[in-house]
């Protein structure tokens, strides 16, 4: 599949921090890409470089196979920053038109698209209201609409669900899936791991400005698996059932067993063992680690808070 975005050896040093330190990755067209990392990992700085707000110190960004130039490519990117905002005193319809025009849409085009979206999100009555009349969740919806209105190739969403109730969060999630199917690429930055697992195809993990993990969600989980299995039985478990070199027992109760398989044996060996013991197996599942566990394991090995240092770049 063709890559929409390729980032090569990107660096951005500030006076006291290496905010982004030699990061490379690529994003396939139409995928939903998760950008993860603890607070202060450099996610926002990275996104600001991709959106042309910051110039990188070193490295290059390729968009659709061509070198990214903020002036020409700005219209094909939609960016919803984590710290979002709108003009409080401006009428909502006017504001949406203004933001769309800045992205290069004509006034007429913008008006039609906004009307469509407002119908879809049941926001028709908002047109002549001001942003200061909206609740946080409502302005969040509006912000999402203004971000994707010009149908950019690359949509960058920084914590898009914060402040939304489950119903509205689902509304936006469905839109994300729909747009991804239509070929738009979505970069999704967050530290809510359960959302990443649900939504993203591919993730990278940043910590202290460096990339420490890169891969598809499935592959990452596989890489971090610990050979844990959960087995449920019809019958009562007896002590003799677990005294075997095939696995270690992690936990057990009357009908359920969690085991860690020893490297040298296959799952079939284990099944075979239970079958020969005459036990009826109800279910047999591999327990893959959650992204949350992986995240914590990777990040915990390093100091919690980012320290200030002097950079001589």
């Amino acid at each position: 599949m063709q890559n929409i975005l390729e980032v090569k050896n990107l660096k951005k040093y500030f006076a006291t921090q290496k905010a982004v330190d030699d990061v490379s990755f690529s994003i396939a067209k139409g995928s939903i890409f998760g950008l993860l990392g603890p607070n202060g990992a450099g996610k926002t700085t990275l996104l600001r470089m991709i959106t042309g707000i910051f110039y990188p110190d070193e490295g290059e960004i390729m968009l659709n196979g061509k070198k990214f130039s903020p002036e020409n490519d700005i219209g094909s990117i939609g960016y919803m920053p984590e710290e979002r905002g709108l003009y409080k005193k401006m009428k909502i319809g006017e504001q949406a038109i203004y933001l769309a025009q800045l992205k290069g849409l004509s006034r007429q085009e913008a008006r039609e698209k906004i009307k469509e979206w407002f119908v879809k999100f049941e926001m028709q009555s908002w047109w002549d209201k001001k942003v200061e009349d909206l609740s946080k969740g409502m302005s969040q919806k509006l912000q999402f609409v203004t971000t994707v209105l010009h149908e950019p190739d690359l949509i960058i969403l920084d914590e898009p669900f914060s402040g939304l109730d489950p119903v509205n969060a689902n509304l936006i999630k469905d839109e994300i899936f729909r747009m991804s199917k239509q070929g738009h690429t979505i970069i999704f930055s967050t530290h809510r791991m359960e959302q990443v697992e649900e939504i993203c195809n591919h993730i990278i993990l940043l910590n202290k400005g460096k990339k420490i993990l890169d891969g598809s969600v499935k592959q990452v989980k596989n890489d971090f698996k610990e050979n844990l299995f959960r087995i449920e039985f019809e019958d009562q478990l007896l002590p003799e059932h677990t005294a075997i070199h095939l696995f270690q027992v992690i936990s057990k109760n009357d009908h359920e067993l969690v085991i860690k398989k020893n490297e040298d044996f296959s799952t079939n060996d284990i099944l075979q063992f239970f079958i020969t013991k005459g036990l009826h197996i109800h279910s047999f599942n591999e327990m893959l680690p959650s992204l949350n566990d992986i995240f914590i394991r990777l990040v915990e090995a390093t100091p919690r808070a980012r320290q200030f240092e002097t950079i001589n770049a």
Binding site: I53, I74, P81, R84, Y98, L102
Partner: protein, 441 residues
């Protein structure tokens, strides 16, 4: 439409459609005219009239002291003393001393105002002077004819020689009025609209919309769009004010009774006697400027220069105000300390303006009108005194070029600071840090 055009349009329209703008545009001229007319009107109406009984006249005061029906009336035939003057309808009683003493005494229940007291003193002095002259042998009739002839005998005209040999009548009063008026207007607007730019930038930063916008356009476009849009607001407001003031001035005579207008005009002609000086003098100068079309004043040049210095001065400072707006945070107090280095030169400019109106060719005035920090204010105070008589062409040219150059420098500096500051939350930056941002690659 290109992006900067869109931004200018938004900045302009949101402000012009604002209720505060509409209110201030229409209220200010009305308030100003009411103030001018009202203060003149009340000054005339409220002038005190005093009736004074004069006793112990040794003889020569009666013939030499003139009553003025609008301020003090002397009655030399009064049969009154300090106990009953009030009952007889007098406001005060004036005791003239015996010859050789200078103890004049005015008794009254209410204190006399400065004007009335001054009038009585002048009349007494005049009487004594006349009496002395008569004692030296000058006839009373001669005296009267002299004083009649010398009253308002002089009208001092300052004729300035032009380069081409022609002479021109200089009107220092008018030049003073126009210079002061336009200088102070530029001074005030630099503060009002400069602060408007600063607040606008700070608001975008606080609202966190700045990051959304700069992902659609260059930070410099956002900053310049705001500055230009607000300049448009300022020009619109000026234009409306001028139209409204002229319209109100000319419609005023239909609403006020003729005699009041006459009184106002009288008051203007004999400026003295109207208390409350400066405002009225200002108003008179403005009225004079409006009603008299005097040859030798190049109105076209003055208007052009006014617009040039208004825009130049505004652009020069607005960029700096935008830079401050981009580095401050929630606390508006933070702006205060950063603004000091900007407001000081503007205030200096105003101080130099007042002195350069007295002496438009002093070295301080000349240099202050060339250096871009003060030139918009000071130069406008000098130009009405004549180009090229008072302000040679080289000075005007140098001043304009340095203002344009200064504007380019401040805008470049502000642009650098702005693009860093607008996305920087947390602590406010000092001027030193801003300079570091500006000179970074």
């Amino acid at each position: 439409m290109n992006k900067i055009g869109l931004i200018i349009q938004r900045e302009y329209l949101t402000r012009v459609k604002n209720k505060t703008f509409i209110l201030s545009t229409f209220m200010l001229p009305i308030v100003m005219i009411l103030f001018i007319v009202g203060s003149t009107f009340f000054a005339i109406k409220s002038r005190e009239k005093r009736k004074v009984a004069v006793v112990n006249d040794p003889g020569y005061f009666r013939s030499n002291m003139k009553s003025d029906s609008s301020s003090v009336i002397f009655d030399f035939n009064a049969v009154a003393d300090s106990t009953n003057y009030e009952a007889k309808g007098y406001d005060g009683i004036l005791y003239l001393p015996a010859v050789g003493s200078n103890k004049y005494e005015l008794r009254s229940n209410k204190q006399f105002g400065l004007d009335s007291k001054g009038y009585i003193e002048r009349q007494l002095n005049k009487a004594i002077e006349n009496n002395m002259l008569e004692q030296r042998g000058i006839e009373k009739t001669t005296l009267d004819s002299i004083s009649k002839a010398s009253d308002n005998a002089v009208e001092l005209n300052n004729i300035v020689k032009e380069k081409n040999g022609e002479s021109r009548q200089a009107n220092a009063g008018l030049a003073y009025g126009v210079g002061f008026g336009s200088g102070i207007l530029i001074y005030i607007t630099m503060f009002i609209f400069g602060a408007m730019v600063m607040r606008g930038v700070a608001e975008e930063k606080m609202n966190r919309i700045a990051e959304v916008i700069v992902s659609s356009c260059k930070p410099f476009e956002l900053m310049m769009g705001k500055i230009i849009g607000i300049a448009g607001v300022g020009l619109t407001q000026f234009l409306l004010w001028i139209i409204l003031i002229f319209a109100l001035m000319s419609s005023l005579q239909f609403f006020l009774p003729a005699e009041t207008m006459q009184q106002i005009q009288d008051a203007q002609q004999s400026q003295q006697g109207i208390p409350g000086g400066a405002n009225n003098t200002m108003a008179l100068k403005i009225m004079e400027a409006k009603t008299t079309l005097i040859e030798g004043v190049n109105w076209g040049l003055i208007i052009f220069c006014f617009l040039f210095y208004f825009l130049g001065g505004y652009l020069f400072y607005a960029a700096l105000f935008a830079a401050i707006g981009s580095v401050i945070n929630e606390d508006p107090q933070e702006a205060q300390s950063l603004m000091l280095p900007i407001t000081m030169p503007i205030i200096f400019g105003f101080i130099i303006l007042t002195s350069s109106l007295q002496n438009p060719n002093s070295p301080v005035a000349v240099w202050a009108s060339i250096i871009p920090f003060t030139s918009p204010i000071v130069m406008m105070g000098r130009i009405p005194f004549g180009v090229p008589q008072t302000v040679p062409y080289w000075q005007l040219g140098l001043s304009m070029i340095s203002l344009i150059g200064g504007f380019l420098v401040t805008t470049w500096f502000a642009g650098k600071v702005y693009r860093t500051g607008i996305l920087m939350y947390g602590k406010k930056a000092s001027w030193k840090e801003m300079a570091k941002w500006a000179f970074r690659k």
